[in-house]
């Protein structure tokens, strides 16, 4: 076997903090390399260097034994390196075919017009090879995240990539889509493509990879055959020591004082007749499959979206017209599921991101002049509480942080406003084991201090690990409720899929009949 890509002593620093330190690695054709590490360990930076997105400060690379120095992503593409990003890079306003051929449309005739017929035929073949049965002229905005991923792969195939990098490809996929993706990755590998697979789901990495490279604090700490690594050992390599448990022990039990009550919340086609109560000191989980309405419900409760009927009562007071501002006034925090779009001001410094919600609190006098020192001190204190890894918080823009640290900034922003109700939508999405543990610890502490926490997650295991009670949503309704002693993943999953006779749950038949 020959080495396809070799990395020699790559180093890269941002704001004086080394993101990648002296990493040497090689990948063979027809092999899958799993790349794991905590957030901020340098995985993304490393593959970004390979993809031509960032430039290393020192070190060099070879591709098929030729020197390889991609200056821009297009260089990498021409050299046969394809990148399937966590956030997909398709033009949603174009069709599948147009997306695949965007950088190189087949032409015909004297006028060099686009050869639509050829595109259609080629796209059909490509889509078939990734097992996607959708007309090639479908607009990308109309297909699901999983299908979009397959389109990205088809695009990589068209560009005849010899190395395909997958960065957290399964975060927005359903279980079935994930299975299909893995099958296709297996085919690609059999065709002799080299694959780099980055994921936090260690079981998947172990199943898919030939070799597994572990990074920690920018350094490559291990690169071993997958068969030689257990998940436990992977975790201890990532964290730098062995950890016994993934979830902290909950320190307190919930009270029975209601904090937030939703009564009969409905919005046609989205959620139907939702009622529940969140108590002081309680961690309440909201589980559901994609499209079950869980995120939409959270947004309505916070006031980011409107609902048609129903009531929200916070600490005994009816909220007239929920809006983000009224919710913040009522001490509700909302960690959104997509931190780039709705959580952060990516190009602005960390301190100003952290202080955004609480800005009015730092205002002095009629003119609303900000007490800068107090603002920075508070921001720094909150950042320290959450162990944020960063340079100067007044200088460093949020976009230069790793995903986990970005999430900490979002949480810090809300912590600073001292809320009593936390709504967290996928609080640990795309976050590594260590950072997850820290976030769970924060959640436990919030509950211990008397706050109520509503966690929305598609990772059932984390809800079982952290919650006092779990509500299951399915097709816009609450379809089941489980208390801690009833926690059993199979039962909860069956409720989510509506494949269960439901002994103790309030079942609403209206929706069920429709399907």
């Amino acid at each position: 076997m020959t080495s396809l890509l070799e990395l020699h002593n790559l180093t890269k620093a941002f704001f004086g903090i080394a993101a990648v330190k002296d990493v040497s690695l090689s990948i063979n054709a027809g092999e899958t390399l799993g790349l794991i590490g905590q957030n901020g360990a340098g995985k993304s930076t490393l593959v970004n260097i390979v993809g031509g997105v960032v430039h290393s400060d020192s070190g060099h690379m070879t591709l098929s034994e030729q020197p390889y120095t991609p200056r821009i992503p297009a260089d990498a593409q021409h050299a046969g390196v394809a990148f399937i990003h966590q956030e997909l890079n398709l033009f949603t306003n174009l069709t599948i075919a147009e997306n695949i051929f965007i950088s190189n449309f087949p032409r015909m005739g004297v006028l060099r017009t686009i050869d639509r017929a050829k595109i259609k035929a080629l796209t059909g073949e490509l889509l078939a090879s990734v097992g996607l049965d959708i007309p090639s002229d479908t607009y990308v905005e109309r297909i699901s995240p999983g299908e979009r991923q397959l389109v990205e792969i088809a695009k990589a195939l068209y560009q005849d990539a010899s190395l395909i990098i997958f960065d957290e490809p399964t975060t927005s996929l359903t279980a079935r889509e994930t299975e299909r993706l893995f099958a296709i990755m297996g085919q690609l590998r059999a065709q002799g493509k080299a694959i780099v697979y980055i994921s936090h789901i260690l079981g998947d990495v172990q199943k898919l990879s030939d070799q597994i490279a572990v990074m920690r604090d920018g350094e490559l700490v291990a690169c071993e055959p997958a068969s030689a690594l257990t998940i436990k050992r992977m975790i201890s390599l990532m964290v730098g020591r062995s950890i016994e448990q993934l979830y902290p022990k909950r320190t307190t039990s919930p009270t029975t004082d209601p904090l937030l009550t939703a009564k009969n919340i409905s919005a046609s086609g989205i959620v139907e007749d939702i009622s529940f109560t969140l108590h002081k000191g309680e961690v309440l989980g909201l589980f559901g499959l994609m499209g079950s309405g869980r995120t939409e419900l959270a947004r309505m409760i916070f006031g980011a979206d409107q609902f048609e009927s129903g009531e929200i009562v916070v600490e005994g007071e009816l909220v007239r017209k929920p809006s983000p501002r009224s919710s913040i006034h009522n001490k509700i925090a909302f960690v959104t599921e997509n931190r780039r779009e709705e959580g952060l001001l990516m190009s602005i410094d960390i301190a100003n991101n952290i202080s955004l919600v609480s800005l009015p609190e730092f205002a002095r006098s009629m003119l609303q002049v900000i007490d800068q020192r107090q603002m920075f001190d508070s921001a720094r204190e909150t950042a320290n509480t959450l162990q944020l890894k960063s340079g100067d918080i007044r200088q460093q823009p949020v976009k230069s942080l790793s995903g986990g640290n970005q999430q900490k900034v979002v949480i810090a922003k809300w912590l600073l406003s001292r809320p009593s109700i936390f709504i967290m939508d996928e609080p640990t999405r795309g976050i590594d084991v260590g950072a997850k543990y820290e976030i769970y610890t924060i959640i436990d502490r919030l509950a211990a201090e008397g706050s109520g926490v509503l966690i929305i997650s598609s990772e059932l295991e984390e809800l079982i690990g952290m919650c006092d009670r779990i509500l299951v949503m399915s097709r816009g309704e609450i379809y089941g409720e489980f208390t801690r002693e009833q926690f059993q993943d199979e039962r909860i999953l069956r409720a989510a899929f509506r494949e269960q006779d439901l002994p103790m749950m309030s079942v609403h038949d209206g929706q069920a009949k429709r399907d």
Binding site: T11, A13, F14, F15, G16, I17, A18, A19, T45, N48, V53, V54, H55, D57, D217, V239, G240, R241, I243, F302, A304, P324, R325, I328, F334, T336, E341, E342, G343, L344, L345, M346, S347, I348, N352, S355, L356, V357, L359, P360, F362, A363, L367, Q368, V369, I370, Q372, Q387, L388, K389, G391, Q396, P397, K399, S400, K413, G434, Y437, E438, T441
Partner: protein, 393 residues
């Protein structure tokens, strides 16, 4: 909990490593990058151009010319500051020129001391607000203060109209302000039947050109000094514009309003979820832009000595947006400063001055200005890319 301790110590170790700051590229390349990224880049560029040009065109070095150029800067600075605010928000205000025209006319209607019937008898206001004896408050000691306040209120109201239409109906800012611009430009012409209104009180003219501190560089012992030999240095417009600049910079960098502007310009959805009152901030920014246009209108009207319906016409809008963009304000929102705009205005005024000194035709001058703005936009993109490369994408 020991995991947390572990991580804390590694974070500490990382922060200690910050002292060494590796950067990409050769020393020369790095120096060029630093220069391009400097806040004072435009100022250096302006001084470089001017000094180079002054070698070839002695008229530029004339103290009278320099004093005159300074006076050209102040009204432009006022209106460009308002535009900077709007651009930081991610919007654009195309109505500043028309706002200046209509406020100039409205102010003159309040203050004019005589009105020529042969000019204005066809105006819709003739016989009511406009009479042969002058405007509404002709001759009154309140004419100037009321006139100024009316002008400022008019400008602010037009801004409110823009902001309200944009936030209430979710219309595109360029569309709304283009419509208000067309409407008020036409309205000003209709009110005056396309005539300038002269006969403004002396006290008002002072706001446009009155000296506070002047310099005389001629021979000593001359008893009567010709007016043209006295070089205005600190004038009322200087005080007004610089005052406005300081207040604006303070608003921008030190107040909740300023931070919220930047946050909306960067990401409106995230800002609103974080409780930033988006609609209110946006409306206030457009009001501020209208206010700044009115301030500029006061200075221009006082300087030329009459109410002019076409005051903000021609290429003023290009100068205003160009000055802001050259000063580093991004057309995509979230980035900009009053200091940068100040440099941008200086750049534009001196550029016009140089082009005039070269005795080029007005057509060539406008063409060159257009090219310069394009170059400025290109430099802005290059700067942004360099910054991004420094910070990772």
């Amino acid at each position: 909990m020991s995991i947390l301790d572990d991580r804390l110590s590694s974070a500490h170790a990382l922060s200690q490593r910050q002292a060494t700051k590796p950067r990409s590229g050769s020393p020369i390349r790095r120096a060029i990058q630093d220069f391009l990224l400097s806040d004072y880049f435009v100022l250096y560029l302006t001084l470089f151009f001017f000094i180079t040009a002054a070698i070839f065109f002695p008229s530029l070095r004339n103290p009278g010319n320099i004093a005159n150029q300074l006076q050209n800067m102040w009204p432009l600075l006022a209106v460009a500051i308002g535009q900077t605010f709007v651009l930081i928000l991610g919007g654009i205000d195309l109505s500043v020129g028309a706002t200046m025209g209509i406020t100039s006319v409205v102010g003159a209607i309040v203050m004019a001391q005589t009105l020529d019937p042969s000019f204005f008898d066809r105006s819709p206001l003739w016989g009511t607000l406009m009479r042969p004896e002058g405007g509404v408050l002709a001759g009154s000691e309140w004419a100037v203060p009321v006139g100024v306040v009316v002008m400022l209120v008019t400008g602010t109201l037009i801004g409110f109209l823009n902001g309200y239409a944009i936030t209430r109906f979710n219309l595109a800012p360029f569309m709304v302000t283009l419509v208000t611009s067309t409407f008020f430009a036409a309205f000003a012409l209709w009110l005056t039947q396309s005539r300038n209104i002269s006969g403004l009180p002396e006290a008002f003219l002072n706001l446009g050109k009155g000296d506070i501190l002047s310099i005389y560089l001629g021979p000593k012992l001359t008893s009567d000094i010709a007016r043209r030999d006295i070089l205005s240095f600190i004038t009322y417009p200087f005080v007004i514009s610089v005052g406005l600049a300081f207040i604006s910079q303070f608003l921008l960098s030190r107040t909740v309003f300023g931070r919220q502007m930047f946050s909306i310009g960067t990401n409106r959805r995230a800002s609103e979820i974080s409780g930033v009152p988006g609609k209110s901030v946006i409306t206030r920014v457009y009001m501020f832009s209208g206010f700044c246009a009115a301030v500029a209108s006061i200075m221009y009207s006082g300087r030329i000595g009459f109410g002019q319906p076409s005051l903000g016409g021609g290429n003023l809008l290009l100068d205003v947006i160009g000055a802001a963009v050259i000063g580093g304000t991004s057309l995509f929102g979230g980035k900009g400063s009053v200091r940068g705009t100040f440099f941008g205005v200086a750049f534009f005024v001196l550029l016009s001055n140089i082009l005039n000194a070269m005795q080029l035709s007005p057509f060539v001058i406008d063409a060159v200005k257009g090219v310069i703005i394009l170059l400025a936009a290109l430099i802005d993109i290059t700067r942004t890319r360099l910054i991004n490369r420094e910070q990772r994408v």
